[in-house]
Symmetry: C2
Subunit: 406 residues, 2 copies
């Protein structure tokens, strides 16, 4: 008789963004006039601007190549085409001692972040920022690396690193030993980036505790503060303790194309009972066994991000999102809203007025201002009393106006 993976039953609620979508759909159902209401979506974690022309051209041209016998490509190399891995190293990791062989191309940072935990025993203790991207926790719950759900929405057996007003929304070192540490900079949802000193502290912690840092840099292209590194490998000693995840989704508008990459340095070794294991080798084996790589046209499109024209167009795209974030932030601060983020990230972390909970504030924004936001509690218990606003939305000025009139 077949038996289920009972860890799935521990998962509380649905996946956050699907929950929000269901609530918005319910709002529309409740309001037959809803099609007349101009809903402003600041809940969106998705790109809204079209792909830049240089990238579209690369996609089209590679699509045509697939139609001719001379240039047709079958299965991609499981680790990704060398032309893309070389472009990544030359552009994103210049002087950071990363080789193309340490780059793994995949079809989404979400997938890699979800799958990386498979390399580790379920006996490891994970540490995650609170609030944070729900995928870190949910995938560990599914694997059985946590205990039962707690009343506050968290799970037993997990070390939560509270990011609050008090500590400037920066995760602090835990007072016990943890094995797998998820860090995200700039953090989703708070929009705050970690500075060099803080990251060095974490790398030192990992080295002392023989822990691994799983560093999510999906939003690195938005970092503007000179003191905030874009890559964990700017930090001394990181090559021996950190895996870095990056994506073309938010940096080049690829949410609808699906391309990302993960860096696992050869220096990342784990010694168990006298045997030295390479995490790179384990991930490579997983990659070869469980995936057939990323489509050729999409990898060509990703490589075009590093061409002179592509890089220029992509920078313009990110600048425009950041300008929107800054302007939204300024408008809200003028009206005494408490808000962080929006400087090194496309996200703003907005405190609910008075004693409103996240979902109450979410409902208020939806009902009264016709603004869609993302409830902070969906990212963890320390997100209670906050919502995330996204600069990927349209009509940011109008959104700010409506918020200040609430």
């Amino acid at each position: 008789m077949v038996k289920l993976n009972h860890h799935y039953a521990k998962l509380s609620g649905g996946y956050l963004f699907q929950e929000v979508a269901r609530k918005v759909a319910a709002f529309r159902d409740k309001h037959p006039e809803a099609s007349l209401i101009d809903l402003i979506d600041l809940g969106i974690g998705d790109i809204t601007s079209p792909l830049p022309p240089t990238i579209v051209q690369a996609l089209e041209s590679a699509s045509r190549e697939m139609g001719s016998r001379e240039t047709f490509k079958g299965y991609p190399p499981s680790q990704g085409y060398l032309f893309l891995r070389e472009a990544i190293v030359e552009n994103d990791y210049k002087n950071l001692l990363i080789s193309p062989d340490e780059v793994f191309i995949s079809d989404g940072a979400k997938n890699d972040i979800a799958n990386i935990q498979e390399l580790f025993s379920i006996d490891n203790r994970i540490a995650v920022p609170n609030p944070t991207y729900p995928v870190y926790i949910d995938t560990n719950v599914m694997a059985g690396r946590t205990k039962l759900p707690l009343k506050n929405g968290g799970y037993g057996g997990v070390t939560y690193l509270a990011c609050t007003e008090k500590n400037g929304f920066s995760p602090e070192l835990p007072n016990r030993s943890c094995d797998l540490i998820y860090l995200c900079s700039p953090n989703n949802p708070t929009g705050t980036a970690m500075d060099r000193q803080t990251l060095q502290k974490w790398v030192n912690y990992a080295r002392e505790n023989k822990a691994i840092i799983l560093f999510d840099g999906a939003y690195e292209a938005y970092i503007r503060s000179p003191d905030c590194p874009r890559s964990i490998y700017e930090i001394e000693g990181a090559h021996e303790v950190a895996i870095e995840f990056r994506s073309f989704s938010k940096t080049a508008g690829f949410t609808g194309l699906r391309c990302s990459y993960t860096i696992i340095p050869h220096a990342l070794k784990i010694t168990e009972r006298g045997t030295i294991h390479s995490l790179h080798a384990l991930w490579k084996r997983r990659h070869e066994t469980k995936s057939n790589g990323v489509s050729y046209p999409v990898q060509k499109a990703a490589a075009a991000v590093y061409s002179k024209a592509g890089a220029h167009e992509v920078k313009k795209l990110i600048d425009s999102y950041l300008q929107g974030a800054m302007s939204l932030k300024n408008n809200l601060e003028k009206k005494q809203y408490k808000v962080v983020g929006g400087v090194d990230a496309p996200y703003l972390w907005l405190k609910a007025p008075g004693t409103l909970t996240s979902w109450q504030f979410f409902e208020l924004l939806l009902e009264k201002a016709h603004i869609i936001s993302t409830p902070g509690i969906g990212f963890g218990s320390a997100g209670e009393g906050y919502v995330r606003l996204s600069a990927f939305g349209h009509q940011l000025e109008e959104g700010a106006l409506r918020l200040t009139r609430l």
Copy 2:
């Protein structure tokens, strides 16, 4: 201190196709004149003909849509675009009582086949054909669902279903209860398809033993024997016990594009301690949490496979591979080679002469006939003494000639 998933250490050898590639590279290194030798690759499990024009056009046109604000698409729906799921149901599952909501689009049947085991407890006993596609076993080894490797290349705790000359290369019912049963029809590597009666026997077994059939139909489009079903759902009672995996890779030349789909009927329920669980709901939750779906241009290209022109072009493509397989088979049989497959599949399963092992025959073919094959032993112990030849290769006539001259 971080601890590894020690199950990875049980994996024997590398992933088969990477091993073959390494041996071929070594052959070329050993022969400085190798560039002059006309190697014929019949080991290839990859499409070699270019994408049909209708599909390329769909890909190009969708790529252009991504460049304009009005038609740009961000994150795809996690289960896939409805236009594609509807086309699949209307064309591939007509009268088979499958709804679009039961279709999950993903970027590779390999990925889904590798990931599906996550839904189940590690305490389940798996049954796999022998020989078969290595991914079934390897992913269960990684998850800890098997015991240690055996001397014959298999793993303890697994029920192997021998497919031999004696039983017509058709897996027979095990004499003990198994929980997760992998079936592949037409089977990779033997190229033999299961008939209706055999499949009904398996569905009955699954119903009696409360087991789940994981049915790999990646090569269904090659089936020509009228008595061999293309879908497990042609069999009565299958909706309650079977998950089906399909792919555009081999049926429409998508190995370089990456698109596949998995069917999980709502009728597939598991009752545990009085609670009824839906496998559809579990997979949906996994899909939402660990993936962001398949790129829009690729899904448009897949939908074009079902257009009138696309379907015609794709049929021509498959017919041409099948013609190659048939001709290769006829030529080999004329020379008293023992060979099966090649009728309902692009693969031929060729018996080595005398007492040669798979790898010995592989080496002989490489050294003496300059033909690349795939050693049968790489697919399981019952594959010893065979090699797989693929009709995806070029120069099949010349290949047959060289084989008959050996």
